[in-house]
Symmetry: C2
């Protein structure tokens, strides 16, 4: 009984519930010195063991292949057995690295948030840093651009959680999503500090909404410590519109009614930015030849 429990603790140890396992093994398996499992604990992480390195590489390969399957066959097409097969392994072997298919999906979701954040940040960095207007325009376009070129990823990140069991721990993905959001918060903060647009009247914010917006601001850690709730409301509204138009495009809900969704996105973008007092520039001439059918 106790043996089985400690064994279970030893198994699903990586990446999910890491400190949890550290605590439990420390209490239950007193005979085994902890340095065994993580050598050179005090010497810093600069010197990973050879074992740790190859382990990290295997985990990366797992995630990479799972990601490929996600892109090629959709969320439902990711299976431990298929990943293992492609790696020349068997499915149970993967359980040394991931605690199950759900955890693997959460892992790659977190990675994808990081990747999206990097893509937006790269676009943001590609324009002059002091041109806030252009930075916002570029960042929002980069968001849509990444979404339409990574449809399967976007669906798992921003769609409903349809595959995961409800009790799955998705905090890694949520954390990554929060870091992604910070990209936009920073830009919005800049815009606020420049006082580019008048905040809406305070009486348009109901007490209930004010409470939720305050919680929003507190949780997300704006750089502005006491950001007015009216500003958070504007940000929320913009995010809702951006999310709506991009999701509708990626989820293909107007497919039978519109061929190319980019004009609608640009229209919404222009409307959003104008409302923020940010100047809008039409996209490059490549706008008419988008990913839509050339016909």
């Amino acid at each position: 009984m106790l043996t089985a429990f400690t064994k279970a603790c030893r198994r699903y140890d990586v990446n999910i519930a890491d400190e949890d396992r550290g605590a439990r093994t420390g209490r239950l398996r007193r005979g085994v010195p902890q340095q065994m499992t993580k050598p050179q604990l005090d010497l810093g992480a600069a010197q990973p063991t050879r074992r740790e390195r190859v382990r990290e590489a295997t985990l990366a390969e797992i995630k990479q292949i799972a990601r490929n399957h996600l892109v090629e066959h959709g969320t439902g097409g990711v299976s431990l057995r298929a990943v293992a097969r492609e790696m020349g392994m068997t499915a149970p072997g993967l359980y040394r690295y991931v605690s199950g298919i759900d955890a693997l999906l959460v892992l790659i979701t977190a990675d994808m948030f990081q990747e999206l954040a990097d893509a937006v940040a790269a676009a943001d960095a590609s324009v002059p840093a002091d041109d806030t207007d252009l930075r916002i325009l570029t960042s929002l376009r980069a968001f849509r651009s990444w979404a339409v070129t990574h449809r399967a990823e976007f669906a798992t990140m921003f769609g409903p959680h349809v595959r995961l069991a409800p009790e799955t721990d998705i905090t890694p993905a949520v954390e990554a999503g929060r870091r992604f959001g910070a990209t936009f918060y920073t830009l919005f903060d800049r815009l606020l500090s420049e006082e580019r647009f008048p905040l809406p009247d305070g009486d348009r914010v109901s007490p209930q909404l004010a409470r939720e917006l305050r919680a929003f601001a507190d949780t997300c850690g704006f750089s502005a410590p006491h950001i007015p709730v009216e500003a958070v409301m504007v940000l929320s509204s913009c995010w809702v519109r951006l999310y709506g138009v991009v999701s509708m495009e990626v989820f293909e809900h107007l497919n039978f009614v519109m061929r190319d969704m980019e004009p609608l996105f640009e229209s919404e973008l222009r409307s959003i930015l104008t409302g923020l007092g940010v100047r809008y520039l039409p996209p490059e001439s490549s706008a008419s030849v988008t990913t839509g059918t050339p016909d």
Copy 2:
């Protein structure tokens, strides 16, 4: 060879590709009179055979149980075997009624669109017919209300198609979705004819966008034959915002940052309606005690 083909034609005949089957069987199985498969074809559909009645009932039961499983266990929890088990049947038996799990999901999705349309229409009919403002307000609130009380359904209807194979024929669901959309189109038409709000300048509509919007209007069959594209743009923008705020709530993307999404919805609703020149009324006093956690 030919036998196998005709057998395959005879099997997956119902509900999906109905006329297709009629045509094929008519050509391939000349020896069998068509009246056999559909008796009293000329006497009208008012007299369904006993067989047809029980068959319809069985199909309805299948869909009902599948729907229950969808609600209780999410999209991934719907399985032919489980449905059959609950019906006291075996899974292969269901193939007499549905051509596979994907077709079943499409079927119930179409049903759900119909149900949503009915719910919105019922709310719309519950207020004075000549009060366009109140009808719109009530209809949009009914949309959100249905969504948050039917989360699993909403996710399969408005989320990404994550379970279905890409080549699945989803036209039944798309058709039902179109009928649902007509509910809002009609109200919007009313609003337009009342000329309640000024249309935006035509130069805000790019030629590409105008083309897409025109296709949108044509496909959806507005009652106004030559509705201006500017109006379609306004409608699209409103729909994007509504879709965005409701989807974010149902998909729980701000869960870790907001407890109750209704205030944000009401805020967006007010903003949308104000932009349309429609008067906004705050919700009943039950607003603060919504479906959210009581604490």
